[in-house]
Symmetry: D3
Subunit: 68 residues, 6 copies
């Protein structure tokens, strides 16, 4: 009955990749902690690069700087 | 002064239903725990079915399988 | 399959009150949005008054000021 | 290595304002708690006014009432 | 630079199991989405069974009923 | 009416430091986005070093390795 929230910057993640991530995390929780997959909830939040900060800077600015 | 976060798969929830949910949860917190409605915050997140997993599978795949 | 997170300052909430809150929120989601109670997850976080701020001030300071 | 999540109603916040917020919060964590800015993550969620409740009412209804 | 929050009912999870979970989720994010492990944050919240609800009932009550 | 959640590893943060953090974040939201301090909620979660992972490793293991 775990709840997992995965958040990352929206880029190019496909449906297939997100499905693989959900399957993988659910399996890990079962393999390591015997958590029941049937009631394991995994929610992915894809966040705009203007809204994600690392090192005091938005991801969109970090990218621009690196490319510029 | 409670904070409530309600997350579910985006489907067809109307403004009226979301308003009723916010009113209902705020009232519950007041009735049961005497929490002050004036500072009770309720935030609803509607999540893409590709980003919500249950039983190790995305909701969009579960639906497709059931209908298919 | 909704996930609800209820956060409030730790005070004197009893097991019975918390159980009533969980039941009430689960029923609301069923009554208003037809969400399946069997997979509705509700998690309560009770937070230390030193760790909760409102109006730029911790709840523990607000209480002290009011009582003092 | 802190994680900060800032949520508010989506209005007219610009990229510059969001960048300033991320910089400011990261600096605060460094100045007050010596947390390393390089691994400080700040994520902003801008929420639809129909999905944000205060005082048992959505923000969109509160605004309509005030203006109406 | 992802942030992952894993929440489950506090039971008997050991340090080793929690470390394995953190390693596993970080690897998944790298293998599937090429996310940089160095800035991947994983936070585990172990929740009191009185504070976790499923099916409208706390986990502590569900257990008591099953055992009783 | 913003909600801010600040999470970091439990170390030696004092009441005064946490109060300063809450005041600082509330002021930032007012100065940058004109958010009303009276309804700004800030919640701090201090997390056990066994439950916080960075770089695929728990903070408690990282520390032990560095000191060992």
């Amino acid at each position: 009955m775990p709840y997992v929230n995965i958040r990352f910057v929206r880029e190019k993640a496909t449906k297939q990749q997100k499905a693989a991530l959900i399957r993988g995390v659910t399996n890990l929780l079962h393999d390591i902690l015997k958590k029941n997959p049937a009631t394991t909830v995994v929610v992915i939040d894809e966040v705009d690069p203007d809204n994600w900060g690392l090192g005091g800077e938005t991801v969109s600015l970090r990218k621009k700087r690196r490319e510029g």
